[in-house]
């Protein structure tokens, strides 16, 4: 009976691994959330790096922590959904707030006149660019919420997290193709009088591709590393 009460080396290893992962996530999660606000990004980034270094040290010590590629992918998707949600939610429901009128119209003036031209003149407020509002209503409550949930499940190495990350990454391809086509259709009014016409569009649009470049990895990764 006494022998049963003693934890095996395996149990100790599992417990230490779990604790190391938890400790790393305690730095990375707040860091990632701060980065999704854009403004607090410079504070969030070092927190995230600190968490990454804790996880790397744990892996070097031989503890069973999450693979680094999964960590980076999961947090990248959290930030992608968070950044898109916060910008578009502000435009959707807080378009008359001072912070929104300052940040968004400055962005509109620099890159995309869809956020400057007739701003706050639609019955619903916010951007006046054709089609833009529909994307906000269509995507923020659906795909970005799903992506956030999927990324959390993925970081917990759950099977459903992996599956839903695949689903929402394909969603990402669909809305990105549609969104870029929409912007091109109305390029002559969205890039009129902005500081960086066309080239500006190129600079930021290319980064929107990053989150769904994970698709080939997600389809070919060994599914057995994710638990039911």
């Amino acid at each position: 009976m006494e022998r049963a009460a003693v934890a095996s080396g395996y149990d100790v290893h599992q417990e230490q691994s779990r604790e190391a992962q938890r400790q790393a996530d305690r730095w990375m999660l707040p860091g990632a959330i701060m980065m999704t606000t854009a403004i607090l990004g410079p504070i969030g980034f070092p927190l995230f790096l600190k968490g990454m270094s804790i996880q790397r040290k744990a892996a070097l010590q031989g503890l069973s922590v999450r693979p680094m590629i999964c960590t980076l992918l999961g947090y990248l998707v959290i930030m992608d959904s968070g950044l898109n949600s916060i910008g578009w939610s502000l435009d959707l429901v807080a378009h008359h707030s001072l912070i929104n009128r300052t940040l968004v119209t400055a962005w509109g003036n620099m890159f995309d006149a869809g956020y400057y031209w007739h701003y706050n003149e639609l019955w619903i407020g916010g951007t006046g660019a054709p089609g833009e509002k529909s994307w906000e209503i269509g995507l923020v409550p659906t795909v970005f919420c799903m992506r956030l949930a999927a990324a959390i499940g993925f970081l917990q190495m759950k099977r459903w997290g992996h599956q839903w990350l695949i689903v929402t990454c394909w969603f990402g391809v669909i809305y990105w193709v549609g969104y870029v086509a929409n912007m091109t259709m109305f390029a002559d009014l969205r890039y009129t009088g902005v500081v960086f016409p066309v080239i500006g569009w190129w600079i930021y649009d290319i980064f929107y591709i990053t989150p769904f470049l994970a698709i080939p990895y997600l389809h070919t990764v060994n599914r057995e590393i994710f638990s039911d």
Binding site: V180, P197, W201, D205, I209, P216
Partner: protein, 47 residues
């Protein structure tokens, strides 16, 4: 760690890289096409 050098993993890595390359060609090709359309529009109307 030795598993990484198994033939199965190598083949899988190759397939993954090929899929990623094909996917990137498609996506960046589309982006570039849209960019060219916008450049054309820009040259015509000079906004």
């Amino acid at each position: 760690m030795n598993d990484r050098h198994d033939k199965g993993i190598d083949a899988q890595d190759r397939r993954r890289k090929r899929a990623l390359n094909a996917f990137q060609v498609l996506i960046y090709g589309y982006l570039f096409t849209m960019f060219l359309i916008q450049l054309h529009m820009y040259s015509v109307s000079d906004w």
